[in-house]
């Protein structure tokens, strides 16, 4: 009887990139539907939507046009803080841990200290996105001043920044980016890594996370459980079948990338597909410190829904 009260349709939004591979696998292999049936629930009608940027995600979620949003962990924490007492968003699951890398085509730049006024660092979003926050964390560690590099940053989407960086004909000399752009840039030989986000955070950290409103999570606990189970299943499958996962990704995204290249990214030991959040509190602590959030969560469990608490998160 309770199952009938739960939602019959599930609207899930993702963004571009290989970071959303668990979603893509769940979609293509119809894992959510499968898990629902296994749990004895009617298979929900799943609608997969692509949106660009956390802001559009948030607005859609708050407007009730979406059930599950996804974005970088830092913007998610920010949204969690901002919506406390109103929309009350809450993490549903992490979408895996993978490093972001600051690359540069300027041979002189070996570390953050080597940037000069002539350098420009491209970031995919402004101020409060995932990469800008990590860059600020790194600047804080290096210079003791988190906004030291802000004046060098410009906002430019990943693909454009990559094209600019590789062209060598532009002011863009550095780019804080994510897979597969990291690997593409490094493989071209025209850029080298300057900084790895794992080093900044002190180890593997969640990159993207799925989140929803508390209201939805509380009204649909079984559906949420099914979703997490489906993501777990997707992660297990990816880990077990990296080659097939690469092929599936390429087919689903109509990607022109080389399957071996994608497979290499999936196999990268730094990349971990797991629903358990990693080092979420490192982000929240930093955000609290620089005043972007007003409440410092005591534990990652404050950020994520109860169904996840059994996982080994951090």
């Amino acid at each position: 009887p309770q199952a009938q009260a739960e939602t019959k349709e599930l609207r899930i939004a993702q963004q571009f990139g290989i970071g959303y591979l668990p979603f893509i696998v769940a979609k293509e292999r119809r894992l959510i539907e499968g898990e629902a049936v296994r749990a004895g629930l009617p298979a929900p009608q799943v609608e997969w939507i692509t949106l660009s940027g956390a802001a559009a995600m948030n607005e859609a979620l708050i407007a009730g046009s979406l059930d599950i949003a996804s974005a970088g962990i830092a913007p998610m924490i920010l949204t969690w803080d901002k919506t406390r007492g109103t929309a009350d968003i809450i993490g549903v699951a992490a979408l895996g841990s993978m490093p972001n890398v600051l690359t540069s085509n300027n041979p002189a730049v070996k570390s953050l200290r080597d940037f000069t006024d002539k350098d420009r660092i491209a970031l995919p979003s402004v101020k409060v996105g995932f990469q800008p926050i990590v860059l600020q964390m790194a600047a804080e560690q290096t210079f003791g001043q988190y906004d030291k590099l802000d004046n060098l940053t410009v906002s430019l989407p990943h693909p454009d920044a990559t094209a600019q960086l590789l062209s060598g004909q532009s002011e863009i000399t550095a780019h804080f980016t994510a897979p597969p752009f990291i690997q593409q840039q490094l493989a071209s030989g025209k850029a080298h890594a300057v900084l790895n986000s794992y080093d900044v955070l002190g180890g593997p950290h969640t990159f993207n996370a799925a989140y929803s409103t508390k209201r939805f999570v509380e009204a649909n606990p079984k559906t949420i459980a099914v979703l997490v189970a489906a993501l777990d299943a997707a992660n297990a499958w990816i880990t077990a079948n990296p080659a097939e996962a690469a092929k599936l990704y390429i087919a689903a995204e109509k990607s022109k990338l080389d399957p071996a290249f994608v497979e290499a990214i999936i196999r990268d030991p730094q990349v971990r597909f797991t629903t358990a959040p990693e080092r979420a509190t490192v982000f929240s602590a930093f955000l609290f410190k620089i005043g972007l959030i007003k409440r410092n969560p005591a534990s990652w469990t404050e950020l994520f829904q109860a169904g996840l608490w059994t996982k080994a998160g951090s």
Binding site: R11, A13, F16, G17, E47, W48, I49, T50, L51, S52, G53, A56, E59, A60, A63, S65, L66, P157, H158, P159, D160, T162, A163, Q164, L166, S167, Q169, Q184, A252, E253, K254, S255, K256, L257
Partner: protein, 279 residues
């Protein structure tokens, strides 16, 4: 003297022009082709000189991508999806523009409202409408249609209203003399009289509908299934398939040229040029 007059600036060409309209039309086509070839060559040359396919593919590479895109059927499907949204938004925009402009020409309050709304809302980017669009229409196509409507409504309304306001007094008096009802006065007098401006507004609205559609497709959410040409551009851009990105843009250009040639030029030739409202 014929020579002398032909040597005069085209803008000041005598009204006798219709004389050789038929031959002129052929001539025009020829010039257009020459210009198009020139632009294509320029593109090709510059892209080769640049030698950076990631930033700017050559024209030939773009055409190749275009042909492949159409051969695979994807580009055609995407274009169809976009056109469908576009037409819905365009249609809704035109209807609203017609209503607002009619209201504006019927009452002082309507006029003030139109002027106010145009001045206020026209400069707002599509992103400003997102919250309201999401609230009212949810994610996806209906919201897209909504922002396209916003993009079309104001240029068309503004141009039409400006056109209405510059209808000569004698023509207005002629219409009023027949005791026309307000809707008839608007539809049968003001609209044809302001047709040059309305057509300019329709052209602009069309262009802005495209611009907005492409820019909005991602912000407003699409699923791979329902994505249009904006989706095509974005996904290819995300994969650094620059030739495909430009193939998508070229498709927009081609659609623009076709619509211009068949629809707008045709409409102008069948109306304002035939009626002597345009030289």
């Amino acid at each position: 003297m014929a020579d002398a007059t032909l040597a005069a600036p085209a803008a000041t060409a005598p009204a006798a022009a219709p004389a050789d309209q038929a031959s002129r039309l052929r001539f025009n086509g020829w010039r257009k082709v020459v210009l198009l070839l020139g632009l294509a060559l320029l593109w090709e040359g510059y892209a080769r000189h640049l030698g950076n396919a990631l930033l700017l593919p050559t024209f030939s590479a773009t055409v190749r991508a275009l042909v492949e895109g159409f051969a695979s059927g994807e580009l055609l499907a995407r274009t169809a999806t976009s056109l469908e949204l576009l037409l819905m938004g365009y249609g809704a925009g035109l209807v609203l523009a017609a209503l607002l402009t009619a209201l504006a020409s019927l009452s002082r309050w309507g006029a003030e409202l139109l002027e106010l709304l145009t001045a206020m809302l026209n400069p707002l980017p599509a992103v400003a409408l997102l919250p309201v669009a999401l609230l009212w229409f949810g994610i996806g196509a209906p919201s897209l249609v909504f922002v396209i409507t916003h993009a079309v409504l104001w240029p068309v309304a503004l141009s039409s209203y400006a056109g209405f306001r510059s209808v000569p007094r004698t023509l207005r008096m002629t219409g009023r003399n027949l005791g026309l009802s307000a809707p008839r006065f608007i539809i049968e007098i003001l609209m044809p009289a302001a047709l040059p401006q309305i057509l300019a507004g329709l052209r602009l609205g069309w262009a802005f509908a495209w611009r907005t559609l492409i820019a909005a497709e991602l912000v407003f959410g699409v699923s791979a299934r329902s994505g249009g040409i904006g989706w095509f551009i974005y996904t290819n851009r995300a994969q650094l398939e620059t030739a495909n990105v430009f193939a998508g843009l070229l498709t927009i250009i081609l659609v623009g040229l076709i619509v211009e040639a068949l629809l707008f030029r045709g409409a102008a030739r069948a109306t304002i040029q035939r009626w002597g409202q345009e030289q």
